[in-house]
Symmetry: C2
Subunit: 375 residues, 2 copies
């Protein structure tokens, strides 16, 4: 399986060149999905010569990652042959560990969910119990997949991605003080799971996983995924890649202060977005909560100049239109006042729904194959 030359401190050699171009072609094949894409189109999109694309796709076909799938209509000459990704050539499991629920999905190379499990879980029950639950559920997903013939070989399982509420250290796979569950502080979740599962494991914040899932799912450029459930967080995608920051702690959207000397927040600060938002929700004031969210989103949009704001999470799902409209109203008003030439940043509902985080967690393993090192 192809991986980018991650270890090198920057120097590039021929193998890394090859990996890069192969990943590029694979990414285009994935994006094309079931429609497929022709060799010549691949050449145009990558900037490579047709002959180079022929060589690369020949390798991919020999390794079972790509296949020919029909032809296009002729435009006066030999018709183009359509190439397609072979989705079953690789799988990954994405696990969404929420405060009260575990959701695991089996995902193939092109992002299709081919298996899913949901069980209640208590994050407060301690590390051993939770690790055990993850091992059990991923095991069942693999068993089901093998039985149905989808996971024909164990080797096609690339690894397991785990997404859960932060803060945590993505690089080392170690949890910090998961809000509300101090006993998790310092637990090396990635290594503990990798030892038990025997496959690579990647750990990330739920918001980052969801944002990665959206980026892989076709959302281009820079955007923010705002997640409102028991807490408030954000996943940032800047220029197509998830921005995690120096200590992989970026996205602390909930504790942005937007009211100097405002009401106190459990985090110790005053006037945090999360505190104001949750307070409004407690009063049943959804539009008020949306407006507060909008102020935060508008700040973020101005600071980072993003293309889009995507909303998700359980609370948003309860009244999607109220939140989308409320947040958009704040952004529109600000754009009008500032006379933005292209209008306001659009606000939409994250399309993946309740499965978004688990799906994105699986992409933590799949994305590197397509040339997105850390997503």
């Amino acid at each position: 399986m192809y991986r980018t030359n991650a270890a090198a401190p920057g120097g590039a050699n021929l193998p890394s060149l090859r990996s890069h171009n192969t990943a590029l072609v694979l990414d285009l094949l994935r994006t094309a999905g079931a429609d497929g894409i022709s060799r010549l189109e691949l050449a145009e999109r990558t900037g490579l010569t047709p002959q180079a694309v022929s060589k690369i796709t020949a390798r991919l076909r020999a390794e079972g990652l790509a296949t020919e799938a029909g032809r296009r209509a002729s435009t006066g000459g030999k018709p183009r042959t359509v190439l397609r990704l072979v989705p079953d050539a690789g799988h990954a499991i994405g696990v969404h560990l929420d405060r009260d629920e575990l959701r695991a999905v089996l995902v193939d190379l092109d992002g299709t969910v081919t298996g899913e499990r949901r069980v209640p879980v208590d994050l407060g029950a301690g590390a051993d119990a939770v690790v055990e639950a993850v091992v059990r559920e991923t095991g069942r997903l693999v068993a089901d997949g093998t039985e149905s013939g989808r996971l024909s070989e164990v080797r096609t399982l690339l690894g397991v991605g785990v997404a859960l509420p932060g803060p945590l250290d993505h690089d080392r796979g170690v949890l910090h003080r998961v809000t509300g569950f101090p006993e998790w502080d310092g637990f090396p979740l990635r290594d503990a799971l990798a030892r038990r599962l025997g496959v690579p494991v990647v750990v990330d914040k739920d918001t980052n996983a969801a944002a990665l899932g959206l980026a892989v799912g076709g959302e281009r450029g820079s955007f923010v995924y705002v997640h409102l459930a028991t807490g408030l967080g954000a996943g940032l995608v800047l220029g197509g890649t998830v921005h995690r920051g120096a200590r992989t702690g970026a996205g602390e959207f909930g504790h942005q202060v937007v009211q100097l000397d405002g009401p106190p927040c459990p985090c110790g600060n005053r006037g945090c977005l999360e505190a104001l938002c949750l307070a409004a929700l407690d009063h049943g004031d959804l539009p008020g909560a949306a407006r507060v969210l909008g102020v935060g989103a508008a700040n973020l949009a101005a600071l980072l100049d993003i293309d889009r704001v995507l909303l998700g999470g359980r609370t948003v799902a309860r009244a999607p239109e109220v939140f989308v409209r409320g947040v958009a109203a704040v952004l529109d008003a600000r754009a009008r006042r500032e006379g933005a030439p292209d209008g306001a940043v659009p606000v939409t509902l994250a399309p993946a729904g309740a499965r978004g985080v688990a799906h994105g967690a699986a992409q933590l393993l799949l994305a590197p194959i397509f040339g997105h090192p850390n997503g």
Copy 2:
């Protein structure tokens, strides 16, 4: 002169591989400065083999970009030969266009300022007058440089970088509504200057230029440069590169809302950082202004997880310690409350001083040579 393969949509070929590695080596040579760096050290730092480094440095020496400069002490065998960048092999001019002053600097490859001019200018006097002033001052810089023997050939002038208050379109080099001077809206400054000067011109916001200058000057990782003068803005460097966002408008720090329903700002919003900050300054309340700045910086640090906050600009220069201490106090307090394992994000004064923006503007032309495409 080496340039990265910018036009390609992602596909890499052998020339682009070569450019990449050459730029990498040049960047290390530049970073090493007058001390120089040995071939073996270059090999270790890049991950390339010693032989590859020998070939690359041989090319660089043949083209006059690098030279041998002494040897290190032996460690039991043949002593390492030290290589050094030839600073005079290339120059760039950086122009800082402020509301009332034009500052232009001539900078060589390793960032040393070898010529400087300062003249009063009125941005409100219209485009023609300002363009004329830039043409005149850059011309004099070149004339002085040629006379002193530094600019031995005209070909060593790579181009002119112009930095001025935003907002503007960096990609196209077109100004938007420069705050306070609506007549500039839509003026194609880059093309107008390039036609008159006959060399490449790059236009950017003053804050971005300063941030780029700091990044090139050795500031690693992710940081924010906060500029407080007649207005308030920020330049973001994320993972070593300047973040400009989708429409190159990122860094709108001044109009971050931190007080819902706060005092009105000329921009039309309420409770903007800039409004609060300038109001405090009007009352002579520097610590108050610093505190407001600190709240904004803390929000940004939490959102983006940056390594450092750097302060600059005329107002900061008037009482540097008050601002550094005031901003740091807010960040420290928040870090303590949240129990950040590594402590608070450090706050320091931007080292480049009043010349920072002009120096950074020159780096807009130099950075691509060292593998930083847009800085």
